[in-house]
Symmetry: D2
Subunit: 349 residues, 4 copies
């Protein structure tokens, strides 16, 4: 069923006490076609939302319900912002016609073996992937009733390098990606290594050496674009800021490929996109310029000395990297204006 | 002239390369009744807005015009985000029917002597004060064609203490206000003491001892509420964050005044306000909960030991403290929905 | 027993996995007269120090022992950096000749009733107070074998206002103190409200209305200086930085007191102090200028309009506010050079 | 001439109002063998040091002299912390026996063509390189009277990868280095893009595509270690913190090289080093753990999937990356204890 721009859609949001759920609610609160129905949580059920998400002034008096199939049922759309492994069971019990949008990882990977290796549980199947800027992906999302929201790092990495692989401009065996994320990427978790006194003024890597769970997701997306396997070295780091990802992605370019061809490929890929922008030459992306918005900004440089293209891409990990991508995908799935509820500028300075 | 909710208003914004002007544009870009006309600057005239305000994705390709009466003319509304002293001359040349909203200080003070003492130039006259939550002020703004946007510190201080003075609950000679501001409050200025390496991990006071220009503005507002002169000790400090003000305001309560009476006065003042909130007991304001939004949140405590009420109030200095208050005032002046374009939650975490 | 500058003192440090204990170790590692003996913790006993305090490179391979009287015995000096209520029992079992320095609150308050009201347990008695810059306090620390290290907020507040009260220049019933602390002041605790994503870009008050436990400690110190009871309104706030306290302290000055008299009193109080400095006029204190050092810097302003003196004072909460004050007190108690091990500049930018 | 541990050396520091000069002074103020003589600056000559570097409490009353050969003459050691291109002329006029330590880039590069390409001026010659942990470099520094302090990024990058190249374990044509620096790395310069409101909460790249001046310096160091040319893709980024560099450096390992061989090479290289540490497996470097100290910490991971080693290395850009390396080199040159004045732990949290 496709909705017209004047219809109102009822939406339930689970995991509403966490960062992903909170950001989904922030965006939906400004969405012209949405009525927010059930807002659910697990251990925080029964609390006022205003206590847990004091920035959601318009929803402050709402009471969190328990995350159950019963509470989530009866809505046109259900957002799942749950720990990995929790969404498959709930989704299976929701009607097929309900649009279920999973902000978790459960349904992103096509390769069951990769899923099992990195997540350690049984593969739950693959859903349409909510990154409409990838080739063919916008079409795949139209009318979808199950959508897997991409990971935050993969969103930035795939936006950064897909035009090169989709146009056979890059070598597939020499991709290096280093990403830096604000600490909200580590979740709203009470851990000593995440407390402010530890984090402020400090930067650190983690999951180095191929161990991060987003590695197979990045390789999957780039391999799909290239039409052959792409191998990726991915290193994530944490930076002293609340939000934002800056990804530095580099690959060797094919023999004879020129800088102009590279620039053209990226321009063609994103020129008509409402949310993804190749910046004018000479301007570098900053995470603050996309803070709180669904935009992604990037710049491309060709290093003739090493034969590499380097693409730097900035997104807000919680918006384009999670909740914004989720709402954008919902809009496409339902036939709404793709930018509905997402017409937000970055919040800067 | 009052506008209906379906009309479209043309707006010009001057000072668009600075923080106040940028924030006005951020809000107007999402305002349902506004068409953004001329965007002007001084030394940056001729530049692409996307270079100077890269977070304003929807306006990135707009070119900054020169700040002249000619360029600003022909709009329904003109926002002035200019250095102190620059707005009077321009305003005088704009038609009387044009709504001119001055984000600078020029037309805030009623007392010409106070203006001359703190700003060192001739007094330019007093315009209706754009803080509609003050007693009688919303009425005063309806139909106004000249509006003085309050200073950021005064916004937080007046919201914090006015209910007490308006209800004769506080002593007028013992008010102490200490405010902490993110460094955007110091403007987009290339000064060594403002660079990130100096600011991060550091906190410092300035203008201590009654020297800050916002002191007479705070005293004016509280005196108006009290109906007699109120004397204020005001100390501003800079905090390592980009945005946000946390004001701690304290005054001695009158003889026999109870905590319940205090709480009732603040509740009555703000219960129906769309943007100003006395938080539930036990919850403290945080600047992040209002980041990028037009909301103000506060909490009140009565200290029986010292006979003082302490009100802590958080706003975003650029939104409720500048551009949000300006847009809210415009909405009231024009008869639009007061919250139009301001229906934004805080951006957190 | 007084030690000569060439002797070596064996020191044990308990609570070594927390911030206070870690800072004591950081300073002792550079102390020319100290050999670090037992390093103890509670739940982290058995761990490598390098895991828990990775900045203490010189002690990285040391293994944390359990915090027991047995392990702490046999040292010349024992530092206790334990939760409130835990030090009295241990101290009672250590030999009288052992210098025991308690970084906790247990032995700071003279008034048992205040202790019981604010800490909710039986009063453990009062020890000499480790703030040698207070009148007479340096003498009181010489030869002491039990020392109570002041709280971090009281250190800054007492340094800020004591010269005024000690010289009868200030009114005792109208003191307002607002302090801002880096979040290390809240301890190395896994709490959601302290995680970096919540803290960065945000500022908030807590314990408003006279509820903070440091209030009676500040009143005690100022009352001792004044020779009569001083009443204090104290509001603490948390700021997005790891370390540092900026205190804004204000009181009404006595009738006829001049700015020159005020300035003279503060100058006289601190001119010969190695660690406490009244800055030259025109220069404001910054927390970064004292980061990691035992210095306190302050500035004084007289506001004739309100009849108030406003003193702003910056310290590092973990150094002068805790561990530095502790080491300085140890030096005095043992007859060492008061600055031994503390000859550190601030770490800036 | 080699100095004994009991001798006192007179030292002059130029460029004392900047970050590098300030950090040299901070370290020298605690150096047991140093007397600080002339402290010089250019536009700030005549100012009190306490105004410009308020964290240097022990030197606050010193007056900055003009940076002239005359003022710098007559000292055993002269530190030059001057803009690029300014040191050669001064050095040429100082006696040959004076130890001149240049914190600028002028004398780092061996290849005159690379110098001219990246710095745009005539090559000033090459001095011994002040990174004693490189193979053979400690010997080269003994007795040296002219020393080029390495760049901050090269310090971290060369420490990270040299053991691999020195032992022929890595391929030379596939090195990718992404470094993140605190904004003090951009200098104490009044630029709008560096002000705190812009920097906090934001991250951005710059000099992408091989354009950063440290690229040839990194290639030079790795090529020297490898004995053949090494090509490096280097991308620097700025992170919202004052100090610290985290470098992620990756290269393909040679055919058949095992993880154990890699780990052994790094262990052998640094096991006896006082300031450079390969962390125990499972522990990641953090910039805060080295803040204000001369230490470098790193971790190594082997990614069998991509055949890459990834080394992450944290230093303080101003200490080990500039002033600490300079003082360490001075100590070696003069025959002092290499760690004199550098026995500082990191300042954390």
């Amino acid at each position: 069923m496709l909705y017209s721009g004047f219809m109102t859609i009822s939406v339930a949001v689970s995991g509403a006490s966490g960062y992903a759920g909170g950001e989904v609610l922030r965006l939906l609160a400004g969405h012209p076609n949405v009525t927010i129905g059930a807002i659910t949580a697990h251990s925080n059920a029964g609390s006022r939302l205003g206590e847990l998400q004091p920035h959601l002034h318009g929803l402050a008096s709402r009471i969190l319900e328990d995350t159950t199939v019963e509470n989530l049922s009866g809505h046109d759309v259900v957002f799942l912002a749950l720990p990995h492994g929790a969404s498959a069971e709930i989704a299976a019990q929701l009607p097929e016609g309900t649009v279920v949008i999973d902000a978790g990882a459960d349904h992103r990977l096509q390769d069951a073996a990769a899923w099992e290796k990195f997540y350690g549980s049984a593969h739950a199947g693959t859903w349409p992937y909510g990154l409409p800027e990838l080739p063919g992906q916008r079409e795949a999302l139209k009318g979808a009733t199950r959508i897997a929201v991409p990971g935050c790092y993969p969103t930035s990495a795939l936006l950064a390098l897909t035009p090169g692989f989709a146009n056979n401009l890059l070598l597939t065996d020499d991709v290096v990606i280093v990403s830096a994320s604000g600490t909200s990427g580590a979740g709203k978790a009470a851990k000593v290594n995440l407390i402010g006194a530890e984090v402020m003024g400090s930067m650190s890597p983690y999951g180095v050496g191929g161990g991060h769970r987003h590695t197979p997701e990045i390789e999957q997306g780039l391999s799909n674009a290239a039409g052959e396997p792409v191998t990726v070295s991915f290193t994530p780091t944490l930076v002293p800021m609340s939000r934002g990802i800056l990804t530095t992605a580099t690959a060797k370019v094919g023999h004879g490929v020129t800088e102009a061809e590279l620039r053209q490929a990226w321009t063609d890929a994103y020129d008509d996109e409402p949310f993804v922008h190749l910046l004018p030459e000479g301007q570098w992306p900053t995470t603050k310029s996309v803070q709180g918005s669904n935009h992604a900004v990037m710049q491309l440089a060709f290093d003739a000395h090493t034969g590499r293209v380097i693409v730097t891409c900035a997104i807000d990990n919680l918006t384009k990297g999670t909740a914004g991508g989720a709402v954008q995908s919902m809009n496409i799935a339902l036939g709404l204006d793709e930018t509905a509820g997402l017409n937000l500028q970055g919040v800067a300075p």
